[in-house]
């Protein structure tokens, strides 16, 4: 069979096998199948990538026609170009490492079979998403990853809080999905096809830049991307989704699912280029999100929530890149982010795993000597996250900042905002490192990570360091970015800011020269810290705006007033029936009399109409 078709097939098959075993499969086999299938897919991707790098030829494979309704006949078809190769490599490569790690992390859990079912199903859906030739198949993968995200976030379903978090994730992304579906409808009716490449060609011939229709369609697609990628205003689900197991957060909420929105915009770049207002909106959304999330991460004390807000912030950078037209930089940052964020999440998982499920960073400390490999992972990951020089994050983030600066009008503002975000990123990520790994130990680890956890960590460390040295095979995918003159001052400022952040973090949290307690001594500062801690009170805002009114309306309508209309028809019918029933009294004389009355009336009518 064709290698391309095998790639989503392996995880799909393993998910089917695992689900049919109804949880009775022995651990070893379940884990081997679960992780092994993704490994096999990774090998297939590697083979595919080797060929692609050699000849750069785009591959297409059609499996069958999905449905055929009138003119509309979407196919199950795959389209492999440079962008797809990059995404597939990230999904299967990082995914395999995470699966391997999960074996050890989830070994003592009783539902390990169910875990690998959901994880493999997720990988299969995500692969479908990135390999899809048409937007309908992409939407299938989109919804599939949404469902798997719900299943995995609510994995430990016996605790109702996890269920609530899973529902929140699903519902908030659903809002975005609905917008995206509307966008798909619009595109289908206007352009006649949902196949991505023909669609972009048709759009270019049918629409002018700045027309209302492409703006509307791309705005709707942007709605979907915003939901899935946890950007403002639909970002509230991601911090709560940390209720799931940590490898889940690493895979779904760092490396793959949340990048689906970025992928969507990059894939349909042709449409977005026709709608400059939407592009600008993308950039501003990215900027606002990265700043808000950055400030919020600064005030958190749960190790996973810091990383969650960090993810939201970094995806803001990717949106910023897409918004200014630097599609390749956005995808580059997507890849490097996958490396170091997965690394950070896995390392956090190792900390949690070894510290018997402690999440609060202020109850950790001094783990530098006790968990050395984890410390190394965290340090390298944070360095890459903060974009310290020569890490992979450095190359990708600086590319974005330079592209932002190069844009006319709003470019410098975007650049300044991105710079502030970089400063914040550096501060909060090193805050995390210094508080957790330095100082005195408040909780002792009760075990060390095994090779299945340490191995992936080390591999991801390597990737986080050298991942930025490779040029991505994106040459043929995006239109060539305009060469902009390099402004050295801007470059040096961009390089220096993360280092400044590192210095500030050192002074505040390790050296003690700048006392954080004195900074938050005043009530105003404390209020500000609380404001940032609650995520800028957006959750509360949504509660007031949407949730409470919805509940109130549901309460008012609890007696089904709409049904009353239909019930009233029934009631009227029954009332008439009971009134008429009086006529049927069972007496013979009465019946005879009524018959005579009828006869009289009939004859009267006949006599009237007679000529």
């Amino acid at each position: 069979m064709n290698t391309i078709a095998l790639i989503p097939l392996f995880p799909l098959l393993s998910a089917t096998l695992l689900i049919m075993s109804a949880g009775r499969m022995p651990r070893h086999i379940a884990a081997t199948i679960g992780a092994g299938s993704v490994g096999l897919s990774a090998i297939c991707v590697a083979l595919l990538a080797k060929d692609f790098l050699a000849d750069g030829q785009v591959l297409e494979l059609t499996l069958w026609t999905w449905m055929s309704v009138g003119d509309f006949a979407p196919r199950i078809a795959f389209y492999i170009d440079g962008l797809t190769i990059v995404m597939m490599s990230v999904i299967t490569g990082v995914g395999f490492l995470i699966h391997l790690y999960s074996i050890e992390f989830m070994w003592e859990d009783e539902s390990i079979c169910r875990y690998f079912t959901y994880m493999d199903l997720f990988v299969a859906a995500m692969l479908l998403l990135v390999m899809a030739d048409n937007l309908l198949l992409l939407y299938l993968g989109w919804e599939g990853v949404g469902v798997c995200s719900y299943l995995l976030v609510g994995f430990w379903y016996k605790d109702p809080a996890n269920g609530a978090a899973a529902r929140k994730a699903f519902i908030v992304t659903r809002i975005g999905d609905t917008a995206m579906a509307l966008g798909l409808f619009l595109l289908l009716t206007e352009l006649g096809t949902l196949d991505i490449q023909p669609m972009m060609i048709a759009a270019n011939s049918q629409w002018q830049t700045g027309d209302a229709l492409p703006i509307l369609a791309t705005a709707l697609l942007l709605g979907g991307a915003v939901g899935k990628s946890a950007q403002l205003p639909l970002h509230t689900w991601l911090p709560d989704a940390m209720a799931g197991p940590t490898p889940v957060s690493a895979l779904i909420h760092a490396a793959t699912m949340v990048t689906a929105g970025v992928y969507l915009i990059a894939r349909t770049y042709g449409l977005f280029l026709l709608a400059p207002p939407t592009m600008e909106a993308v950039a501003w959304i990215g900027l606002a999100t990265l700043l808000i999330a950055g400030f919020t991460a600064l005030a958190q004390n749960d190790i996973k929530r810091i990383l969650a807000y960090s993810t939201i912030s970094q995806i803001g950078y990717m949106f910023l890149a897409l918004g200014v037209g630097a599609f390749a930089s956005g995808i580059f940052h997507l890849m490097t982010h996958a490396f170091f964020k997965a690394l950070l999440f896995l390392a956090a998982g190792a900390v949690i795993h070894c510290l018997h499920h402690e999440h609060n960073i202020f109850r950790m400390g001094g783990l530098r000597t006790r968990l050395p490999i984890v410390f190394l992972s965290f340090f390298i990951g944070s360095a890459a996250l903060a974009a310290l020089p020569f890490t992979s994050g450095f190359y990708s983030k600086d590319a974005i900042l330079l592209s932002a600066w190069a844009l006319e009008d709003i470019g410098p503002w975007l650049w300044a905002g991105g710079l502030l975000g970089a400063l914040l990123t550096s501060i909060y990520s090193f805050r995390l490192v210094f508080i957790v790994f330095f100082g005195e130990a408040k909780t002792e680890p009760d075990r060390q990570p095994g090779w299945k956890m340490a191995g992936p960590l080390l591999l991801l460390c390597l990737l986080s360091l050298v991942g930025g040295w490779f040029a991505l095979p994106l040459a043929g995918v995006f239109p060539a970015a305009a060469e902009h003159t390099v402004n050295h001052a801007v470059e040096w400022i961009s390089i220096g800011t993360p280092l400044l952040g590192l210095l500030l973090a050192y002074l505040m949290f390790l050296g003690g020269q700048l006392s954080v307690d004195k900074m938050v001594a005043s009530s105003g500062a404390r209020a500000l810290r609380d404001f940032w801690f609650s995520g800028w009170r957006i959750d509360q805002l949504y509660d007031v705006l949407w949730v409470t009114p919805y509940k109130k309306i549901s309460y008012w309508m609890r007696n089904e007033p709409v049904d009353a209309i239909y019930n009233s028809i029934v009631a009227a019918n029954q009332w008439a029936h009971h009134r008429l029933l009086v006529l049927q009294n069972g007496e013979l004389r009465w019946y005879a009399t009524t018959m005579v009355v009828g006869l009289i009336l009939l004859l009267a009518v006949m006599l009237r109409n007679a000529p």
Binding site: T593, V596, V597, L599, I600, L603, A604, M606, L607
Partner: protein, 169 residues
């Protein structure tokens, strides 16, 4: 003269019918009815249908009415029955049936009053009736006989006295 006879018979028929239907005593009512039927038979005879007149007397008055008499005797209504009937025949009960009947009468007169035609002066002999019966109406005769058979069986079954033993329903 025959015409006068005809109208007298008609008058007798009408009055005795009215009398029959307004008696309290069932046996009296039946006798009046028999008189009415005999008057109608006279009318048939005068119109030139002797066979029908004979049938009217023999079967209608002779068998059907006698059946009625037998059943009334069997039911043994007695004086209490008669008093009850008188009570039910009180004046106020006549209003609705009377009004309905009057209205219907007016309408029927309006409908029937337009009819043209005269009875022919010729009698139709029983022989002619017999020929018609064995000719075109053969099937009707057979069906009529089956109807009578079914009513025979039905009447026999319905007239049975069902003995209810104690404890049985």
């Amino acid at each position: 003269m025959l015409a006068t006879l005809f109208y007298i018979a008609a008058l007798i028929a009408l009055t005795s019918t009215m009398a029959a239907l307004t008696r309290a005593n069932a046996a009296h009512a039946l006798i009046y009815l028999i008189v009415s039927l005999l008057a109608v038979a006279v009318m048939f005879f005068l119109m030139g249908a002797p066979f029908a007149a004979a049938l009217e007397v023999v079967i209608y008055a002779g068998a059907i009415m006698v059946l009625f008499v037998f059943v009334i005797m069997m039911l043994n209504l007695g004086d209490t029955g008669e008093d009850r009937e008188r009570e039910w025949l009180a004046g106020r009960n006549w209003f609705v049936p009377g009004a309905m009947a009057a209205l219907l009468l007016i309408e029927m007169l309006m409908v029937l009053g337009d009819s043209q035609g005269v009875t022919s002066g010729n009698a139709v002999s029983p022989k002619a009736v017999g020929i018609r019966l064995f000719g075109p109406y053969l099937l009707a005769v057979e069906i009529a006989s089956m109807l009578l058979l079914s009513s025979l069986v039905g009447a026999y079954h319905l007239g049975r006295r069902f003995i209810v033993r104690r404890g049985e329903h």
